[in-house]
């Protein structure tokens, strides 16, 4: 059996603003499917990725109603990643930077997301095989 690694990711971009976030979530998905212990420290705009009040919308340009459009909501992606990690025998610990949350009024996060601080990022990184920062450019 392959070694179960512990990986930490630091994310910074707000939802939808950068393809870097899509790439980061795909990397986290791979780690989750492998049953790794995955830590995410969401900093700055990334704290809105699991914001629970995100809502899908219809897309008249596509001629699709809200159900047909199946809009990608990042809160649902985060929930799916947390579930996938658990299903595969691992865990996804998602920590939102608390001060970043306060500044953005983003306190309403989905279940499984917790509030933390830079000290949590340090602890997660210290306990990890490696850490990948995907910063804002």
């Amino acid at each position: 059996m392959a070694e179960k690694k512990t990986l930490t990711f630091a994310l910074m971009d707000a939802p939808y603003e950068s393809a870097r976030t899509t790439t980061a979530l795909r990397l986290i998905d791979i780690a989750a499917r492998r049953g790794y212990a995955v830590n995410v420290f969401a900093y700055e705009g990334a704290v809105l990725l699991p914001f629970s009040r995100q809502q899908p919308h219809p897309n008249t340009v596509h001629g699709r109603d809200v159900a047909e459009e199946n809009h990608l909501l990042t809160k649902e992606v985060v929930a799916a990643l947390i579930a996938e990690a658990a299903r595969a025998g691992g865990k996804l610990d998602w920590v939102n930077c608390g001060l970043c949350v306060d500044e953005r009024g983003a306190g309403e996060a989905i279940d499984g997301v917790r509030r933390g601080s830079p000290a949590d990022f340090w602890k997660m990184a210290e306990a990890s095989d490696n850490t990948l920062v995907i910063g804002t450019r």
Binding site: A10, Y43, C100, P118, W122, A125, E126, T131, G135, T136
Partner: protein, 126 residues
């Protein structure tokens, strides 16, 4: 564990913590006991220049009374025991002399970067 934070994007999001968010993050982690170093490269080497003044930001009747003082933040980071490196060639390309910088910095050449990275357990390119 010893980590190296590379700061390259300069003057980005300075209104969020009224400083550079990554410099701020490193201050906070150092206060939590982290063993850190910071590397300023690219435009971020300008963070180390003394005498910057970002005061005066105003919108209508609102005034920002605590503007970013990033050079002071860099100096205080070094004062807390965080080694702050600056890439010598990036300083030279911007016409910056050592006398213009806050004290306590370590200059590193581009050729020296691989060795610097190898001396750290984790390297974070913010």
């Amino acid at each position: 564990m010893k980590a190296l934070s590379i700061v390259e994007s300069a003057y980005r999001a300075t209104i969020e913590e009224q400083d550079d968010t990554i410099v701020w993050l490193n201050h906070a982690m150092k206060a939590a006991g982290a063993d850190l170093a910071v590397l300023l490269r690219g435009n971020a080497v300008n963070y180390a220049v003394r005498g910057q003044d970002a005061a005066g930001l105003a919108f209508g009747a609102w005034r920002q009374t605590q503007p970013p003082r990033i050079a002071d933040d860099i100096a205080s980071l070094a004062g807390k025991g965080v080694t702050v490196y600056v890439v010598a060639e990036d300083l030279a390309e911007r016409g910056l002399d050592a006398g213009e910088l806050v004290p306590g910095l370590e200059r590193v050449s581009r050729d020296g970067l691989p060795g610097l990275f190898a001396a750290h357990d984790q390297v974070w390119h913010w």
